[in-house]
Protein backbone atom coordinates (compact mmCIF):
# COMPACT_ATOMS: atom_id res chain seq x y z
CA UNK A 1 0.00 0.00 0.00
CA UNK A 2 1.39 3.39 -0.97
CA UNK A 3 1.92 6.07 1.62
CA UNK A 4 -0.78 8.29 0.18
CA UNK A 5 -3.35 5.49 0.32
CA UNK A 6 -2.83 5.21 4.07
CA UNK A 7 -3.70 8.83 4.64
CA UNK A 8 -7.23 9.61 5.69
CA UNK A 9 -9.58 11.46 3.35
CA UNK A 10 -9.36 15.02 4.70
CA UNK A 11 -5.59 14.85 5.05
CA UNK A 12 -5.23 13.60 1.51
CA UNK A 13 -7.55 16.27 0.22
CA UNK A 14 -5.61 18.94 2.02
CA UNK A 15 -2.35 17.49 0.75
CA UNK A 16 -3.71 17.62 -2.78
CA UNK A 17 -4.86 21.23 -2.32
CA UNK A 18 -1.41 22.11 -0.96
CA UNK A 19 0.15 20.48 -3.98
CA UNK A 20 -2.01 22.48 -6.39
CA UNK A 21 -1.21 25.73 -4.56
CA UNK A 22 2.45 24.78 -4.50
CA UNK A 23 2.45 24.12 -8.26
CA UNK A 24 0.82 27.45 -9.03
CA UNK A 25 3.26 29.28 -6.75
CA UNK A 26 6.23 27.43 -8.22
CA UNK A 27 4.98 28.23 -11.73
CA UNK A 28 4.73 31.89 -10.79
CA UNK A 29 8.29 31.89 -9.47
CA UNK A 30 9.62 30.16 -12.60
CA UNK A 31 7.90 32.68 -14.90
CA UNK A 32 9.18 35.50 -12.71
CA UNK A 33 12.70 34.05 -12.78
CA UNK A 34 12.70 33.78 -16.57
CA UNK A 35 11.28 37.30 -16.97
CA UNK A 36 13.96 38.56 -14.60
CA UNK A 37 16.76 36.93 -16.56
CA UNK A 38 15.31 38.23 -19.84
CA UNK A 39 14.67 41.75 -18.51
CA UNK A 40 16.94 43.23 -21.21
CA UNK A 41 15.06 41.88 -24.26
CA UNK A 42 11.62 42.00 -22.57
CA UNK A 43 11.68 45.55 -21.20
CA UNK A 44 10.24 48.07 -23.68
CA UNK A 45 12.55 50.83 -22.34
CA UNK A 46 15.87 51.06 -20.51
CA UNK A 47 15.63 51.35 -16.73
CA UNK A 48 17.02 54.87 -16.82
CA UNK A 49 15.43 56.17 -20.05
CA UNK A 50 13.89 59.49 -19.02
CA UNK A 51 11.06 61.17 -20.89
CA UNK A 52 10.26 64.58 -19.42
CA UNK A 53 7.16 64.88 -21.59
CA UNK A 54 5.65 61.85 -19.88
CA UNK A 55 6.07 62.32 -16.12
CA UNK A 56 3.99 60.46 -13.53
CA UNK A 57 1.59 59.09 -16.13
CA UNK A 58 -1.07 56.48 -15.45
CA UNK A 59 -1.41 53.13 -17.20
CA UNK A 60 -1.39 53.31 -21.00
CA UNK A 61 -0.50 51.26 -24.06
CA UNK A 62 2.90 52.94 -24.28
CA UNK A 63 3.59 52.59 -20.56
CA UNK A 64 1.75 49.57 -19.12
CA UNK A 65 2.27 50.55 -15.51
CA UNK A 66 2.74 54.28 -16.08
CA UNK A 67 5.87 56.36 -15.61
CA UNK A 68 7.68 57.70 -12.55
CA UNK A 69 8.67 61.23 -11.55
CA UNK A 70 11.50 61.27 -14.12
CA UNK A 71 9.34 59.88 -16.91
CA UNK A 72 10.88 56.42 -16.66
CA UNK A 73 8.76 53.40 -17.63
CA UNK A 74 7.59 51.62 -14.44
CA UNK A 75 7.14 48.24 -16.17
CA UNK A 76 10.71 48.27 -17.47
CA UNK A 77 12.05 49.35 -14.09
CA UNK A 78 10.01 46.58 -12.46
CA UNK A 79 11.72 43.97 -14.66
CA UNK A 80 15.20 45.37 -14.11
CA UNK A 81 14.38 45.89 -10.43
CA UNK A 82 13.56 42.19 -10.15
CA UNK A 83 17.17 41.43 -11.07
CA UNK A 84 18.36 43.49 -8.14
CA UNK A 85 15.67 42.47 -5.63
CA UNK A 86 15.60 38.76 -6.38
CA UNK A 87 19.32 38.57 -7.08
CA UNK A 88 20.24 40.23 -3.80
CA UNK A 89 17.79 37.99 -1.89
CA UNK A 90 19.51 34.93 -3.35
CA UNK A 91 22.99 36.25 -2.56
CA UNK A 92 21.91 37.16 0.98
CA UNK A 93 20.59 33.65 1.60
CA UNK A 94 23.80 32.16 0.16
CA UNK A 95 25.75 34.30 2.66
CA UNK A 96 23.43 33.24 5.50
CA UNK A 97 23.73 29.52 4.63
CA UNK A 98 27.45 29.82 3.97
CA UNK A 99 28.13 31.19 7.44
CA UNK A 100 25.22 29.76 9.43
CA UNK A 101 25.44 26.10 8.45
CA UNK A 102 29.17 25.65 9.22
CA UNK A 103 28.81 27.56 12.48
CA UNK A 104 25.85 25.40 13.57
CA UNK A 105 27.64 22.26 12.44
CA UNK A 106 30.81 22.97 14.39
CA UNK A 107 28.92 24.20 17.44
CA UNK A 108 26.69 21.13 17.56
CA UNK A 109 29.38 18.60 16.76
CA UNK A 110 32.15 19.92 18.98
CA UNK A 111 29.82 20.80 21.85
CA UNK A 112 30.99 21.86 25.31
CA UNK A 113 32.47 25.34 25.66
CA UNK A 114 32.55 26.15 21.95
CA UNK A 115 28.86 25.36 21.78
CA UNK A 116 28.06 27.39 24.89
CA UNK A 117 29.82 30.49 23.58
CA UNK A 118 28.48 30.17 20.03
CA UNK A 119 24.93 29.68 21.28
CA UNK A 120 25.17 32.70 23.53
CA UNK A 121 26.36 34.85 20.62
CA UNK A 122 23.59 33.49 18.36
CA UNK A 123 20.94 34.09 21.03
CA UNK A 124 22.18 37.62 21.41
CA UNK A 125 22.03 38.19 17.64
CA UNK A 126 18.50 36.76 17.60
CA UNK A 127 17.50 39.34 20.20
CA UNK A 128 18.04 42.04 17.56
CA UNK A 129 15.02 42.62 15.31
CA UNK A 130 16.22 41.40 11.88
CA UNK A 131 15.76 44.71 10.09
CA UNK A 132 17.59 46.60 12.85
CA UNK A 133 20.47 44.13 12.74
CA UNK A 134 20.65 44.63 8.98
CA UNK A 135 20.61 48.43 9.41
CA UNK A 136 23.38 48.23 12.02
CA UNK A 137 25.55 46.09 9.76
CA UNK A 138 24.90 48.62 6.99
CA UNK A 139 26.11 51.35 9.35
CA UNK A 140 29.32 49.38 9.85
CA UNK A 141 29.96 48.41 6.23
CA UNK A 142 28.50 51.48 4.51
CA UNK A 143 25.42 51.68 2.28
CA UNK A 144 25.20 50.11 -1.14
CA UNK A 145 23.90 47.07 -2.96
CA UNK A 146 26.73 44.71 -2.03
CA UNK A 147 26.83 45.66 1.64
CA UNK A 148 23.02 45.40 1.82
CA UNK A 149 23.24 41.82 0.56
CA UNK A 150 25.95 40.95 3.08
CA UNK A 151 24.07 42.74 5.88
CA UNK A 152 20.85 40.85 5.18
CA UNK A 153 22.81 37.60 4.95
CA UNK A 154 24.50 38.10 8.31
CA UNK A 155 21.19 39.17 9.87
CA UNK A 156 19.54 35.91 8.75
CA UNK A 157 22.54 33.72 9.58
CA UNK A 158 21.65 32.92 13.24
CA UNK A 159 18.45 31.11 12.20
CA UNK A 160 20.44 28.72 10.00
CA UNK A 161 23.10 28.18 12.65
CA UNK A 162 20.50 27.36 15.30
CA UNK A 163 18.58 24.98 13.09
CA UNK A 164 21.73 23.19 11.90
CA UNK A 165 22.96 22.86 15.47
CA UNK A 166 19.65 21.43 16.67
CA UNK A 167 19.74 18.87 13.85
CA UNK A 168 23.36 17.94 14.50
CA UNK A 169 22.65 17.38 18.20
CA UNK A 170 20.03 14.80 17.25
CA UNK A 171 22.04 13.06 14.54
CA UNK A 172 25.35 13.13 16.45
CA UNK A 173 24.19 10.56 18.98
CA UNK A 174 22.44 8.22 16.54
CA UNK A 175 23.58 4.63 16.65
CA UNK A 176 25.10 4.59 13.15
CA UNK A 177 27.27 7.61 13.98
CA UNK A 178 28.41 5.90 17.18
CA UNK A 179 29.12 2.75 15.20
CA UNK A 180 31.20 4.67 12.69
CA UNK A 181 33.02 6.36 15.56
CA UNK A 182 33.97 3.02 17.12
CA UNK A 183 35.66 2.13 13.84
CA UNK A 184 38.03 4.98 14.59
CA UNK A 185 36.86 7.06 11.64
CA UNK A 186 37.96 10.70 11.86
CA UNK A 187 35.55 13.43 12.92
CA UNK A 188 35.46 15.18 9.54
CA UNK A 189 34.48 11.90 7.89
CA UNK A 190 31.61 11.38 10.32
CA UNK A 191 30.44 14.91 9.64
CA UNK A 192 30.67 14.66 5.87
CA UNK A 193 29.29 11.14 5.54
CA UNK A 194 26.62 10.98 8.23
CA UNK A 195 25.90 14.22 10.05
CA UNK A 196 25.45 16.66 7.17
CA UNK A 197 23.31 14.46 4.90
CA UNK A 198 21.01 13.56 7.79
CA UNK A 199 20.71 17.12 9.12
CA UNK A 200 20.26 19.10 5.95
CA UNK A 201 16.56 18.60 5.13
CA UNK A 202 15.03 21.16 7.53
CA UNK A 203 17.77 23.55 6.47
CA UNK A 204 16.54 23.28 2.88
CA UNK A 205 13.00 24.16 3.97
CA UNK A 206 14.34 27.05 6.03
CA UNK A 207 16.29 28.25 2.99
CA UNK A 208 13.06 28.53 1.00
CA UNK A 209 11.38 30.59 3.70
CA UNK A 210 14.45 32.72 4.33
CA UNK A 211 14.52 33.68 0.67
CA UNK A 212 11.26 35.50 1.38
CA UNK A 213 12.66 37.10 4.51
CA UNK A 214 15.72 38.28 2.56
CA UNK A 215 13.52 39.78 -0.16
CA UNK A 216 11.53 41.67 2.47
CA UNK A 217 14.53 42.95 4.44
CA UNK A 218 16.32 44.05 1.28
CA UNK A 219 13.16 45.87 0.13
CA UNK A 220 12.91 47.56 3.53
CA UNK A 221 16.55 48.65 3.40
CA UNK A 222 16.14 50.07 -0.10
CA UNK A 223 12.91 51.78 0.94
CA UNK A 224 14.82 53.44 3.77
CA UNK A 225 17.49 54.53 1.30
CA UNK A 226 20.12 52.19 2.77
CA UNK A 227 20.15 49.58 0.02
CA UNK A 228 20.38 49.82 -3.75
CA UNK A 229 21.47 53.37 -4.71
CA UNK A 230 19.60 55.19 -7.53
CA UNK A 231 19.30 55.19 -10.50
CA UNK A 232 19.58 51.39 -10.31
CA UNK A 233 16.00 50.17 -9.77
CA UNK A 234 14.96 47.80 -6.99
CA UNK A 235 11.41 47.11 -5.84
CA UNK A 236 11.95 48.72 -2.45
CA UNK A 237 13.77 51.67 -4.02
CA UNK A 238 10.92 52.19 -6.53
CA UNK A 239 8.49 52.44 -3.61
CA UNK A 240 10.79 54.96 -1.95
CA UNK A 241 10.84 57.16 -5.07
CA UNK A 242 7.09 56.82 -5.62
CA UNK A 243 6.34 57.65 -1.98
CA UNK A 244 7.87 61.10 -2.44
CA UNK A 245 5.26 61.96 -5.07
CA UNK A 246 2.38 60.20 -3.38
CA UNK A 247 -0.92 61.57 -4.66
CA UNK A 248 -3.51 58.87 -4.15
CA UNK A 249 -3.60 55.33 -5.48
CA UNK A 250 -1.38 55.22 -8.55
CA UNK A 251 0.28 52.33 -10.39
CA UNK A 252 3.71 53.68 -9.34
CA UNK A 253 2.86 52.87 -5.73
CA UNK A 254 0.74 49.73 -6.30
CA UNK A 255 2.87 47.79 -8.77
CA UNK A 256 6.26 47.40 -7.01
CA UNK A 257 4.59 46.54 -3.68
CA UNK A 258 2.32 44.02 -5.35
CA UNK A 259 5.39 42.48 -6.98
CA UNK A 260 7.02 42.06 -3.55
CA UNK A 261 3.84 40.70 -1.95
CA UNK A 262 3.07 38.18 -4.71
CA UNK A 263 6.66 36.95 -4.82
CA UNK A 264 6.73 36.61 -1.04
CA UNK A 265 3.41 34.77 -1.06
CA UNK A 266 4.66 32.37 -3.75
CA UNK A 267 7.89 31.74 -1.82
CA UNK A 268 5.95 31.04 1.40
CA UNK A 269 3.56 28.64 -0.36
CA UNK A 270 6.41 26.79 -2.07
CA UNK A 271 8.24 26.65 1.27
CA UNK A 272 5.26 25.04 3.02
CA UNK A 273 4.84 22.63 0.13
CA UNK A 274 8.51 21.71 0.30
CA UNK A 275 8.17 21.10 4.04
CA UNK A 276 5.28 18.68 3.54
CA UNK A 277 7.06 17.05 0.62
CA UNK A 278 10.37 16.44 2.37
CA UNK A 279 8.74 14.95 5.44
CA UNK A 280 5.77 12.95 4.17
CA UNK A 281 5.11 11.37 7.57
CA UNK A 282 4.05 14.69 9.00
CA UNK A 283 0.91 16.43 7.83
CA UNK A 284 1.19 20.18 7.82
CA UNK A 285 -1.23 20.40 10.75
CA UNK A 286 0.53 18.04 13.12
CA UNK A 287 3.85 19.63 12.18
CA UNK A 288 2.48 23.00 13.12
CA UNK A 289 1.54 21.58 16.47
CA UNK A 290 5.12 20.55 17.15
CA UNK A 291 6.82 23.66 15.81
CA UNK A 292 4.62 26.73 16.31
CA UNK A 293 4.49 27.64 12.63
CA UNK A 294 8.09 28.61 12.99
CA UNK A 295 9.18 28.16 9.40
CA UNK A 296 6.34 30.15 7.89
CA UNK A 297 6.75 32.84 10.50
CA UNK A 298 10.39 33.23 9.61
CA UNK A 299 9.47 34.88 6.35
CA UNK A 300 7.65 37.66 8.13
CA UNK A 301 10.26 40.03 9.40
Amino acid sequence: MGASAMLKGPVRRRRRAGRAGGRVALGFLVVLGVATLLAGPLAPYGYNDQDYDAILQGMSGAHWFGTDDLGRDVFSRLLYGAQVSLGSAVVAVVVAVGIGVPVGLVSGFVGRRVDAVVMRVLDTLLAFPTILLAITITAVLGTGLLTAMVAVGIALMPSFARMMRAQVLVVRDRLYVDAARTFGLPGWWLVARHVVPNSIQPVIVLTAHMLGAALLVEASLSFLGLGTPPPQPSWGGMLREASRFLDGLAPQIIVPGLAIALTLLAINVVGDWLRDLLDPRVTSRSRRRAVPEATTEAAAV
Binding site: F128, A139, S220, L224, E293, V301
Partner: protein, 314 residues
Protein backbone atom coordinates in the same frame (compact mmCIF):
# COMPACT_ATOMS: atom_id res chain seq x y z
CA UNK B 1 10.14 28.11 40.28
CA UNK B 2 12.36 30.62 42.05
CA UNK B 3 15.55 28.87 40.92
CA UNK B 4 14.21 28.65 37.37
CA UNK B 5 13.48 32.35 37.41
CA UNK B 6 16.90 33.09 38.86
CA UNK B 7 18.56 31.04 36.13
CA UNK B 8 16.51 32.95 33.56
CA UNK B 9 17.55 36.30 34.98
CA UNK B 10 21.22 35.27 34.87
CA UNK B 11 20.77 34.23 31.24
CA UNK B 12 19.14 37.56 30.43
CA UNK B 13 22.00 39.46 32.07
CA UNK B 14 24.52 37.41 30.07
CA UNK B 15 22.65 38.20 26.84
CA UNK B 16 22.67 41.89 27.69
CA UNK B 17 26.40 41.73 28.47
CA UNK B 18 27.11 40.03 25.14
CA UNK B 19 24.87 42.49 23.32
CA UNK B 20 26.65 45.47 24.85
CA UNK B 21 30.03 43.98 23.89
CA UNK B 22 28.85 43.44 20.31
CA UNK B 23 27.43 46.94 20.10
CA UNK B 24 30.67 48.32 21.51
CA UNK B 25 32.68 46.42 18.89
CA UNK B 26 30.71 48.01 16.03
CA UNK B 27 33.31 50.73 15.54
CA UNK B 28 36.05 48.08 15.41
CA UNK B 29 34.30 46.14 12.66
CA UNK B 30 34.31 49.12 10.30
CA UNK B 31 36.56 48.26 7.35
CA UNK B 32 39.52 50.65 7.33
CA UNK B 33 40.01 53.41 9.87
CA UNK B 34 36.71 54.34 11.57
CA UNK B 35 38.03 57.85 12.24
CA UNK B 36 38.57 58.39 8.49
CA UNK B 37 35.12 56.93 7.74
CA UNK B 38 33.46 59.31 10.19
CA UNK B 39 35.52 62.40 9.28
CA UNK B 40 35.10 61.86 5.53
CA UNK B 41 37.48 61.31 2.64
CA UNK B 42 38.52 64.96 2.39
CA UNK B 43 39.30 65.42 6.08
CA UNK B 44 42.66 66.84 7.11
CA UNK B 45 44.91 64.76 9.37
CA UNK B 46 44.06 67.12 12.25
CA UNK B 47 40.33 66.54 11.80
CA UNK B 48 40.88 62.79 11.68
CA UNK B 49 42.97 62.97 14.85
CA UNK B 50 40.20 64.95 16.52
CA UNK B 51 37.57 62.37 15.59
CA UNK B 52 39.89 59.63 16.75
CA UNK B 53 40.28 61.10 20.18
CA UNK B 54 36.57 61.89 20.32
CA UNK B 55 35.71 58.26 19.61
CA UNK B 56 38.31 57.33 22.23
CA UNK B 57 40.16 55.20 19.71
CA UNK B 58 43.57 56.16 21.10
CA UNK B 59 43.07 54.27 24.35
CA UNK B 60 43.56 50.52 24.88
CA UNK B 61 40.46 48.55 23.89
CA UNK B 62 39.80 47.23 27.39
CA UNK B 63 39.80 50.76 28.76
CA UNK B 64 37.45 51.84 25.98
CA UNK B 65 35.05 49.00 26.73
CA UNK B 66 35.20 49.76 30.44
CA UNK B 67 34.38 53.40 29.78
CA UNK B 68 31.56 52.40 27.41
CA UNK B 69 30.00 50.05 29.97
CA UNK B 70 30.45 52.56 32.80
CA UNK B 71 28.58 55.09 30.67
CA UNK B 72 25.82 52.64 29.76
CA UNK B 73 25.29 51.69 33.40
CA UNK B 74 25.11 55.37 34.34
CA UNK B 75 22.74 56.31 31.55
CA UNK B 76 25.39 57.90 29.36
CA UNK B 77 25.38 56.64 25.78
CA UNK B 78 27.80 59.23 24.40
CA UNK B 79 27.04 62.18 22.12
CA UNK B 80 26.11 62.42 18.47
CA UNK B 81 29.14 63.15 16.28
CA UNK B 82 27.07 65.50 14.11
CA UNK B 83 24.48 67.27 16.24
CA UNK B 84 26.47 67.09 19.52
CA UNK B 85 23.24 66.07 21.21
CA UNK B 86 23.62 63.46 23.97
CA UNK B 87 22.42 60.08 22.63
CA UNK B 88 20.32 59.61 25.76
CA UNK B 89 18.36 62.76 24.85
CA UNK B 90 17.82 61.52 21.29
CA UNK B 91 16.53 58.20 22.63
CA UNK B 92 14.36 59.92 25.25
CA UNK B 93 12.82 62.08 22.51
CA UNK B 94 12.19 59.35 19.93
CA UNK B 95 11.64 56.15 21.92
CA UNK B 96 8.22 57.08 23.45
CA UNK B 97 6.78 57.71 19.96
CA UNK B 98 8.07 54.44 18.60
CA UNK B 99 6.88 52.51 21.64
CA UNK B 100 3.44 54.10 21.41
CA UNK B 101 3.25 52.93 17.79
CA UNK B 102 4.48 49.46 18.70
CA UNK B 103 1.84 49.15 21.43
CA UNK B 104 -0.85 50.46 19.06
CA UNK B 105 0.25 47.90 16.46
CA UNK B 106 0.22 45.15 19.07
CA UNK B 107 -3.30 46.11 20.16
CA UNK B 108 -4.49 45.92 16.53
CA UNK B 109 -2.74 42.59 16.05
CA UNK B 110 -4.16 40.96 19.18
CA UNK B 111 -7.62 42.52 18.97
CA UNK B 112 -8.04 41.32 15.39
CA UNK B 113 -5.81 38.24 15.33
CA UNK B 114 -7.20 36.26 18.27
CA UNK B 115 -10.92 36.61 17.39
CA UNK B 116 -10.12 35.80 13.74
CA UNK B 117 -8.18 32.71 14.79
CA UNK B 118 -10.97 31.56 17.11
CA UNK B 119 -13.63 32.17 14.46
CA UNK B 120 -11.62 30.12 11.96
CA UNK B 121 -11.05 27.29 14.47
CA UNK B 122 -14.74 27.09 15.44
CA UNK B 123 -15.72 26.85 11.79
CA UNK B 124 -12.72 24.81 10.67
CA UNK B 125 -12.77 23.75 7.03
CA UNK B 126 -15.70 25.95 6.10
CA UNK B 127 -15.79 28.99 3.83
CA UNK B 128 -15.29 31.32 6.84
CA UNK B 129 -12.16 29.40 7.78
CA UNK B 130 -10.95 29.53 4.19
CA UNK B 131 -11.38 33.29 3.95
CA UNK B 132 -9.63 33.91 7.29
CA UNK B 133 -6.77 31.63 6.31
CA UNK B 134 -6.41 33.35 2.95
CA UNK B 135 -6.37 36.76 4.62
CA UNK B 136 -3.75 35.71 7.16
CA UNK B 137 -1.57 34.04 4.51
CA UNK B 138 -1.71 37.23 2.45
CA UNK B 139 -1.07 39.32 5.57
CA UNK B 140 2.24 37.52 6.09
CA UNK B 141 3.32 38.39 2.55
CA UNK B 142 2.43 42.09 2.47
CA UNK B 143 5.37 44.40 3.30
CA UNK B 144 4.28 46.65 6.19
CA UNK B 145 5.67 49.84 4.64
CA UNK B 146 3.82 49.18 1.39
CA UNK B 147 0.60 48.55 3.30
CA UNK B 148 1.22 51.88 5.04
CA UNK B 149 1.65 53.64 1.68
CA UNK B 150 -1.58 52.09 0.38
CA UNK B 151 -3.45 53.13 3.55
CA UNK B 152 -2.15 56.71 3.24
CA UNK B 153 -3.11 56.80 -0.45
CA UNK B 154 -6.67 55.69 0.27
CA UNK B 155 -7.57 57.22 3.64
CA UNK B 156 -5.47 60.37 3.64
CA UNK B 157 -5.14 61.32 -0.03
CA UNK B 158 -8.14 59.85 -1.89
CA UNK B 159 -10.76 60.22 0.87
CA UNK B 160 -8.98 62.73 3.14
CA UNK B 161 -10.53 61.30 6.30
CA UNK B 162 -7.31 60.74 8.28
CA UNK B 163 -4.03 62.67 8.48
CA UNK B 164 -1.24 61.41 6.22
CA UNK B 165 1.78 62.32 8.31
CA UNK B 166 2.86 63.48 11.74
CA UNK B 167 2.47 62.12 15.21
CA UNK B 168 0.30 63.09 18.17
CA UNK B 169 0.47 61.11 21.41
CA UNK B 170 -2.84 59.74 22.67
CA UNK B 171 -1.74 60.95 26.11
CA UNK B 172 -1.60 64.57 24.88
CA UNK B 173 -4.76 64.56 22.80
CA UNK B 174 -6.74 61.30 22.68
CA UNK B 175 -8.84 62.18 19.60
CA UNK B 176 -6.02 63.58 17.47
CA UNK B 177 -3.69 60.89 18.76
CA UNK B 178 -6.01 58.10 17.63
CA UNK B 179 -6.55 59.79 14.27
CA UNK B 180 -2.80 59.99 13.72
CA UNK B 181 -2.02 56.52 14.96
CA UNK B 182 -4.73 54.40 13.42
CA UNK B 183 -3.07 54.03 9.99
CA UNK B 184 0.48 53.41 11.29
CA UNK B 185 -0.91 50.91 13.80
CA UNK B 186 -2.73 49.01 11.04
CA UNK B 187 0.42 49.00 8.91
CA UNK B 188 2.64 47.86 11.77
CA UNK B 189 0.15 45.34 13.14
CA UNK B 190 -0.86 43.57 9.92
CA UNK B 191 1.89 40.95 9.84
CA UNK B 192 1.61 40.24 13.56
CA UNK B 193 -2.16 39.97 13.24
CA UNK B 194 -1.80 37.39 10.50
CA UNK B 195 0.72 35.40 12.54
CA UNK B 196 -1.45 35.51 15.68
CA UNK B 197 -4.59 34.50 13.74
CA UNK B 198 -2.82 31.49 12.23
CA UNK B 199 -1.35 30.40 15.52
CA UNK B 200 -4.61 30.88 17.44
CA UNK B 201 -6.47 28.86 14.82
CA UNK B 202 -4.19 25.84 14.94
CA UNK B 203 -3.89 25.91 18.75
CA UNK B 204 -7.65 26.23 19.21
CA UNK B 205 -8.43 23.42 16.77
CA UNK B 206 -6.17 21.20 18.80
CA UNK B 207 -7.59 22.21 22.19
CA UNK B 208 -11.21 22.00 21.04
CA UNK B 209 -10.68 18.35 20.20
CA UNK B 210 -9.25 17.60 23.67
CA UNK B 211 -10.98 15.28 26.14
CA UNK B 212 -11.71 17.94 28.72
CA UNK B 213 -13.63 20.01 26.17
CA UNK B 214 -15.74 16.98 25.29
CA UNK B 215 -16.38 16.36 28.98
CA UNK B 216 -17.43 19.96 29.51
CA UNK B 217 -19.74 19.81 26.55
CA UNK B 218 -21.26 16.61 27.94
CA UNK B 219 -21.75 18.33 31.30
CA UNK B 220 -23.67 21.11 29.59
CA UNK B 221 -21.15 23.95 29.96
CA UNK B 222 -22.22 26.65 27.47
CA UNK B 223 -20.16 26.68 24.26
CA UNK B 224 -19.15 30.30 24.71
CA UNK B 225 -17.74 29.62 28.19
CA UNK B 226 -15.83 26.60 26.89
CA UNK B 227 -14.21 28.60 24.09
CA UNK B 228 -13.41 31.85 25.87
CA UNK B 229 -12.67 30.64 29.40
CA UNK B 230 -11.26 27.15 29.12
CA UNK B 231 -10.06 26.45 25.61
CA UNK B 232 -8.48 29.85 25.02
CA UNK B 233 -6.38 29.66 28.17
CA UNK B 234 -5.11 26.25 27.13
CA UNK B 235 -4.45 27.41 23.60
CA UNK B 236 -2.72 30.57 24.74
CA UNK B 237 0.83 29.27 25.24
CA UNK B 238 1.80 28.94 21.57
CA UNK B 239 -0.10 32.16 20.93
CA UNK B 240 1.90 33.96 23.62
CA UNK B 241 5.09 32.56 22.04
CA UNK B 242 4.11 34.12 18.74
CA UNK B 243 3.23 37.41 20.44
CA UNK B 244 6.66 37.38 22.08
CA UNK B 245 8.33 36.91 18.71
CA UNK B 246 6.07 39.62 17.32
CA UNK B 247 7.28 42.27 19.76
CA UNK B 248 10.69 42.15 18.15
CA UNK B 249 9.11 42.16 14.71
CA UNK B 250 6.75 45.03 15.61
CA UNK B 251 9.69 47.18 16.72
CA UNK B 252 11.45 46.40 13.44
CA UNK B 253 8.24 47.16 11.56
CA UNK B 254 7.67 50.43 13.40
CA UNK B 255 11.18 51.58 12.50
CA UNK B 256 10.39 51.23 8.77
CA UNK B 257 6.73 52.32 8.87
CA UNK B 258 7.63 55.54 10.73
CA UNK B 259 9.29 56.71 7.51
CA UNK B 260 6.04 56.32 5.57
CA UNK B 261 4.15 58.55 8.00
CA UNK B 262 6.95 61.06 8.55
CA UNK B 263 7.12 60.26 12.25
CA UNK B 264 10.50 61.09 13.72
CA UNK B 265 10.89 58.16 16.06
CA UNK B 266 13.69 55.74 16.83
CA UNK B 267 13.72 54.56 13.21
CA UNK B 268 14.31 58.02 11.80
CA UNK B 269 17.15 58.58 14.26
CA UNK B 270 18.71 55.22 13.39
CA UNK B 271 18.42 55.64 9.62
CA UNK B 272 19.93 59.13 9.54
CA UNK B 273 22.69 58.03 11.92
CA UNK B 274 23.39 55.08 9.64
CA UNK B 275 23.65 57.29 6.56
CA UNK B 276 25.94 59.73 8.39
CA UNK B 277 27.78 56.90 10.12
CA UNK B 278 27.11 58.54 13.45
CA UNK B 279 28.26 55.52 15.43
CA UNK B 280 27.40 56.64 18.98
CA UNK B 281 23.76 57.17 17.94
CA UNK B 282 23.61 53.82 16.13
CA UNK B 283 25.11 52.09 19.16
CA UNK B 284 22.79 53.80 21.64
CA UNK B 285 19.60 53.16 19.68
CA UNK B 286 20.43 49.52 19.00
CA UNK B 287 21.38 48.87 22.61
CA UNK B 288 18.11 50.31 23.89
CA UNK B 289 16.08 48.22 21.42
CA UNK B 290 17.88 45.00 22.34
CA UNK B 291 17.39 45.79 26.02
CA UNK B 292 13.65 46.23 25.44
CA UNK B 293 13.33 43.03 23.41
CA UNK B 294 15.17 40.99 26.03
CA UNK B 295 13.12 42.40 28.92
CA UNK B 296 9.83 41.77 27.09
CA UNK B 297 10.87 38.18 26.46
CA UNK B 298 11.70 37.75 30.15
CA UNK B 299 8.22 39.02 31.04
CA UNK B 300 6.72 36.56 28.57
CA UNK B 301 8.57 33.70 30.24
CA UNK B 302 7.05 34.80 33.55
CA UNK B 303 3.66 34.90 31.84
CA UNK B 304 4.12 31.27 30.74
CA UNK B 305 4.38 30.03 34.30
CA UNK B 306 1.21 31.94 35.15
CA UNK B 307 -0.65 30.51 32.16
CA UNK B 308 0.53 26.96 32.74
CA UNK B 309 1.85 26.20 36.23
CA UNK B 310 3.23 22.92 34.88
CA UNK B 311 5.97 24.86 33.12
CA UNK B 312 8.78 25.16 35.63
CA UNK B 313 12.01 25.08 33.78
CA UNK B 314 11.64 28.21 31.71
Amino acid sequence: MVTALRRKVVSVLLTLLFASAMVFLITYLVPGDPAVVVAGEQATPEQIALVRSELGLDDPIVEQYGRFMWGVLHGDLGTSLFTREPVVDIVARTLPRTMELVVAGLVVAIAAGIPLGIAAAMRARTATDGVIRAVSTAGLAIPNFWFGLILVSIFALEWAVLPATGFVSVFDDPVEGLAHQVLPALAIGLTAMAAIARQTRSAMIEVLSADFVRTQRAMGVPGRAIVWQHALKNASIPVVTIIGLDISRLIGGAVVVETVFGISGLGGALVSATTQRDFPVVQGVILVVVFLVVIVNLLIDVLYTWLDPRIQGV
